[in-house]
Amino acid sequence: MILNIALKDLKVIFRDRKALAIMLVMPAVIMLILGSALGPMFESTLIIDKFMIAVVDKDGSLNSQRFYQDFLRGEMSDMFETFVVDEEKANEMLRKEIVPSIIVIPEEFGINISNNSPVQIEVRSSAGESFKTSIVKSVAEGYANGYSRYNAVSVALEEILKDKLDMIEKPISGLSDRDALMIDLQGKLENSFIDFNEDNQEKNKIVTGMQYYCAGMLVMFVLFGAGMGVKHMTEERENRTLGRLMTTRAGKASVLAGKFLGLMLITFTQALILILFTAIVYRVNWGGSVLGVLAVTISCTFTASGLGMMIAAITKTMKAAEGISQLVVQLFTILGGGMIPIYIMPDAVKTMSKVTLNWWAVNGYYDLMLGSSFVAVLPYCAVMVLMGILYLGIGVTRFRT
């Protein structure tokens, strides 16, 4: 009986052309418009091609060579194309915007490193391409600060451990006590197990505009789909089919279970169609974990259906149910970051966003899009299911026929 009620609801809603347009056609169109129009804004902050920077080496020491050869041309070679030129040539290239930035290694660079003095690297940038120049500044400052911090720590340690320095084994004869201490410390730290978490590294990436809006709009329209179900449910209360159901052998429990399952079937079918459509037609990458996408989608539709049952239970008329559903959908979508990225919102909004289904579902999808596994999105699913149980509990206890 439960399945019969659910399948009947699915049939009823899929024969409603207006509902179908709102649930399937409208999201497909809005995803395309928002994804295409606002996509480049996302992508410009994401995909930075390898770019040239000029390096002026005023120092010419072994330390400046190490910075240039090992660091800039080695570790950072995926990001920068670097070459050494004199200062005049570098300034000219900067003025002509051949390079967005130049790095100037000052004369005392090597000496400062050796003397444990503060280390500085100068970066000169053009007015345009602020994103690229900020990357160069961060890299140069990071390198210089690393040395400065190293020097500050070693001086402090030497001061603290001055009575015990002679106990430290010197691997190379002639090594100062301080250098021997730092080599010893470095060895001990390397032996400690430090796990580099790839998932955390992935979080520094951001999804594309199309991915962002497909996930955001999917959750918003799943809520709209649940709203359609709510409208039909309250309509059934008004035309007494719900009351008539109660006079049949299907008891209240079967009717409520059937209605909830019906809402889940409606929203899950809708979500699945939209995910497949956007993956095939818009070439949206929903991530490599099919199981993960299914888990987030099922959790999301479970919660949306629970929310639908609650709205149907607390509203008396079809109009009231429609009004409240639309208000909740829009509020949740804005708060949950479905329309505007949540990281540009004030802190209070960021905190509030976590009470919405949208935040958890959308972030679950984003993580999957960025390569996270099924297991990684389980916490999002757990929170959504808990929300759904709460909504459903309120709905079931307050439901009238």
Binding site: M1, N4, I5, K8, K11, V12, R15, D16, N239, R240, T241, G243, R244, L245, M246, T247, T248, R249, A250, G251, T401
Partner: protein, 311 residues
Amino acid sequence: MGLIEIKDVSKSYGSLKAVDNVSLEVKEGEIFGLLGPNGAGKSTLISILCTLLPYDSGEVLINNHNLKKNAGEIKRVIGLVPQEIALYPTLTAKENLMFWGRMYGIGGKLLRERVDEALEIAGLKDRAGELIDKYSGGMKRRINIAAALLHHPKIVIMDEPTVGIDPQSRNHILETVLKLNREGMTVIYTSHYMEEVEFLCSRIAIMDHGKVIALGNKEELQKLVGRKDIINISTTGTCTGLEGELREIEGVLEVSLKDGKLSVATKSADAVLARVISTLDAHKCKIQMVDIKQPNLESVFLHLTGRALRD
């Protein structure tokens, strides 16, 4: 012992007593009429019988099952025809009947047979594949009734089943009710239309303000009023002071005049009509319409409550 026994049942909504200490017995095989104006308590009583509403006090036994203890058993023997068209408009008549049949626990070949039978009863077998939305009001009402018959209930409760339909569909529904009753089904029938109740029902309960104010067959109820004809005359002009003169006419029992509408109760309309008209003529009252009514349930209700049934 009756098929349905209602003993001292009450149901209140806050301070409003919707059903006030009602006792009734419906016998197996009869068509029992519930008559009363809006707000009389008919629908509340029907909702109680259909297990939709809990009652505050009293006892209800249906087919020897206590309603509070054995609602499940009672649902097997009851079929409800709600006042509203409780069908899914975007499904076809056949899809609707298949769904409701499943809800009554019928399946497989038996369900298909019962759906065919119900469509036959509704006279809509050839249009079974059309959406309910495309049906006329009368056709919808016929499917609304058919949906309550799928599980072959012992008792069918019909709440205003002919509201807002064409005469042809009304006749079809009334014939269907009689046919079902001839086949052994017990029917509880509520309506605003007293002619329908008079035509169909073997016994009638008249309800007002949550109470049963009269109960019996048509003849028994008419005896409450006595054998009286009512002459209703619509007039214009000044007719004040006329009532006293009319009461003096031999054979006139009661006279009332309100807003130009004169009502004269008499043992025989034929015997007094000429003198009533000449009295009006003498007072220069212009007659617009004359209507003579034999005693009926309307006059019973008027007699018992002082109000018309549709007030």
